[in-house]
């Protein structure tokens, strides 16, 4: 009960209140921040903001937001899924290489199965062997990338083909908006429903908020974690398919650059990396914010290294602020 570092009680009351408000409504200040950033961008390069630019930003924010859903869902339980980048890559690569061999639909199904397999291994490691999710998903990511290399050996000769539906989703536009939203809107509705109106979603919050209390309520947390990581793998595989349609050039590192921003988007969106609190709506706005920031960094000719370092600092700063807010009680 008593800690080594007992907290002083009466400090920074206003900070607590602001923190509380932000925790309860993470989306409102985030949208304000997004608008502020867009305004700054327009100041930096007048005329850049256009319907086309907006459509493009949304288009590239979609796969990021989908991977961020993996992070939001796993972070709800106090976990994280670092294998999503490689799963998305593998799913895209498998789909592209199998399409000429077996046709688009079976190829896409096999691609989704990749996500399930990695998810099962992750679920076993975190739920049953109780390895820290960070280490576990890092490890499965490593193994999966090895498997992908081996797989590449055997199929490279067959050539690649991208299913038409994916190309339509990835590159087409309808009324100025990218067709990706036809996949994304139902997906987002599903995730929001899952988090708010399903028993499973409730258990995610419960396991992350207080695993012991969840057990005392009769929850077998390994079941929850197993299902969660399978779901995360499925989402990552689906994202890979969409991303394949967007980039149209399968490679062995296709979606890997999305991994770190997906964590950042979730954290910016108000999801606690310690579990029990998270918002997918926030993560969507977070993904948009990251895309806008990326545009700004590109305009400012910021090198790749600074971008990566900046994302790291954002994650650390947001988490440290979070700890500050929640420790005062």
């Amino acid at each position: 009960m008593s800690d080594i570092h007992p907290q002083a009680e009466t400090q920074a009351r206003p900070i607590v209140r602001i923190g509380r408000f932000l925790k309860d409504n993470p989306v409102i200040p985030l949208i304000a921040l997004l608008l502020l950033l867009i305004g700054t961008l327009e100041l930096m390069r007048p005329g850049i903001i256009s319907p086309f630019w907006a459509g493009n930003t949304i288009k590239f924010a979609i796969p990021l937001a989908m991977l961020a859903a993996c992070q939001v869902l796993t972070m709800l339980t106090g976990g994280i899924d670092l294998s999503v980048g490689i799963v998305a890559t593998a799913s895209a690569f498998v789909a592209a290489t199998l399409t000429p061999l077996v046709g688009p639909v079976p190829a896409m199904l096999v691609a989704m199965a990749v996500g399930v397999v990695v998810g099962v291994v992750n679920g076993f490691g975190t739920g049953i062997a109780r390895v820290h999710p960070l280490i576990m998903t890092l490890g499965t990511g490593l193994i999966a990338s090895g498997c992908l290399q081996v797989y590449q050996r055997y199929v490279i000769a067959t050539g690649t083909d991208i299913p038409a539906i994916l190309e339509w989703l990835g590159t087409g536009r309808t009324a100025g908006l990218p067709n990706g939203i036809f996949l994304f809107v139902p997906f987002a509705v599903f995730v929001l429903w899952l988090m708010r109106y399903s028993g499973f979603g409730r258990l995610l919050f419960a396991v992350g908020s207080n695993e012991k209390a969840a057990q005392l309520s009769g929850v077998r947390s390994w079941q929850v974690l197993m299902a969660l990581y399978v779901l995360s793998g499925l989402i990552a595989a689906l994202t890979g398919l969409l991303y394949l349609g967007m980039i149209r050039a399968p490679s062995l590192s296709l979606a890997n650059p999305l991994m770190l921003p997906s964590v950042a988007a979730a954290v910016i969106g108000g999801t606690s990396i310690f579990g029990g609190r998270g918002s997918f709506a926030g993560a969507i706005v977070g993904a948009l914010i990251l895309r806008v920031i990326e545009t700004m960094l590109t305009l400012a000719r910021m090198p790749e290294g600074a971008r990566i370092a900046l994302f790291g600092l954002i994650i650390l700063a947001v988490t440290a602020l979070y700890v500050r807010f929640t420790e005062q009680r």
Binding site: I4, A129, V131, G146, G305, F311, I315, A320, V323
Partner: protein, 313 residues
């Protein structure tokens, strides 16, 4: 008797290593001095990464940014060696590594964010820093650095790389372990609360352990440079390998138990397995998969042991 019992795990690892070397010899009768030398050379960065990880695991933490810090040190030294002598460049690199580790430690103590999260964020910060220093592989290695790990020393078949590593680790670790600080590191990892009650400055001890981790990472970065002759800004696959070797080497994730000898022997075991697979003409990518699976299996086993160890208390 007591020596044997106390070091049973390490002795078992040595035995396993000898057996594996024998297997190597069986598969490839030509495996001899040069094979041993290249094995030791290739193991060098892994060994330092593992030593770095072991120190923070003993203090009860973990450092996911080890590979990134190695990358920073490798490019720092490669860039510096273009303009100055090898020795000052090495000294500056070691200082940079220690400073990075110290920053990690201080951030963990001050922000009270769990070590695993802080070092995950710092993994990216250091990775970005490495790219800022050197955007693509470049720089040079001082010739003597490359020399230092090639070939044998004293007698034929005693790889220089091995001796160098043994000396560096011994010079840093042995006095540290005997010192009050070393004791405090073990005490903090074993039972933070009891350590605090026994008068250990827990926060300072942790920060110091992370600084030592940074120092070993710097040696890891230098050995990377010595190995390839070029500064490489993209972190290599050392993180998971280091965690696996630490666990296999008898240190317990959670802290307080283990040393550096076991984990370093574990590094060699993992490298020998790789050599065996390569000699058996297994596809190098399959080798990666096998290796990854072994590592994940080892870490799972370690987590399982930790759970068993905690349950009765």
């Amino acid at each position: 008797m007591s020596f044997v019992r106390r070091n049973a795990w390490t002795l078992g690892l040595v035995a396993l290593m000898v057996v594996l070397l024998g297997v190597t010899r069986l598969i490839q009768p030509n495996f001899g001095v040069s094979g041993l030398e290249s094995l030791a050379r290739a193991a060098l960065p892994f060994a330092f990464a593992t030593a770095a990880m072991a120190v923070v695991v003993i203090v009860g933490g973990i450092d996911l940014s080890v590979a990134s810090m190695m990358a920073v040190c490798s490019v720092t030294a490669a860039v510096l060696m273009q303009t100055m002598g090898g020795v000052p460049a090495i000294l500056i690199t070691l200082a940079v590594g220690t400073l990075m580790g110290l920053i990690n430690g201080v951030l963990i103590v001050l922000t009270r964010v769990p070590d695993i999260v802080v070092t995950l964020a710092m993994l990216f910060v250091w990775e970005g820093t490495a790219l800022l220093i050197l955007n693509s592989p470049g720089g040079i290695a001082a010739p003597f650095l490359r020399e230092a790990i090639a070939g044998s020393v004293l007698i034929h078949g005693l790889p220089k790389a091995l001796i160098l590593m043994a000396i560096i680790v011994a010079v840093i670790w042995v006095p540290l372990k005997r010192s009050k600080l070393g004791l405090a590191i073990y005490a903090t990892g074993s039972d933070e609360n009891a350590a605090f009650r026994s008068g250990v400055a827990v926060g300072r001890t942790k920060a110091a352990a992370y600084a030592v981790c940074g120092l070993f990472s710097a040696f890891g970065g230098l050995s990377l440079l010595a190995l390839t002759g070029i500064g490489e800004p993209v972190p290599g696959p050392y993180l998971l390998a280091a965690v696996a070797a630490v666990v296999l080497g008898g240190a317990v994730l959670g802290g307080g138990i283990g040393g550096l000898l076991g984990p370093i022997i574990a590094v060699f075991i993992l490298r020998i397995i790789r050599t065996i697979l390569t000699l058996a003409a297994v596809d190098p990518n399959v080798t990666t998969i096998v290796e990854g699976t072994i590592m994940v299996g080892v870490v799972m086993f370690g987590a399982f042991l930790m759970m068993r160890g905690r349950s009765p208390s």
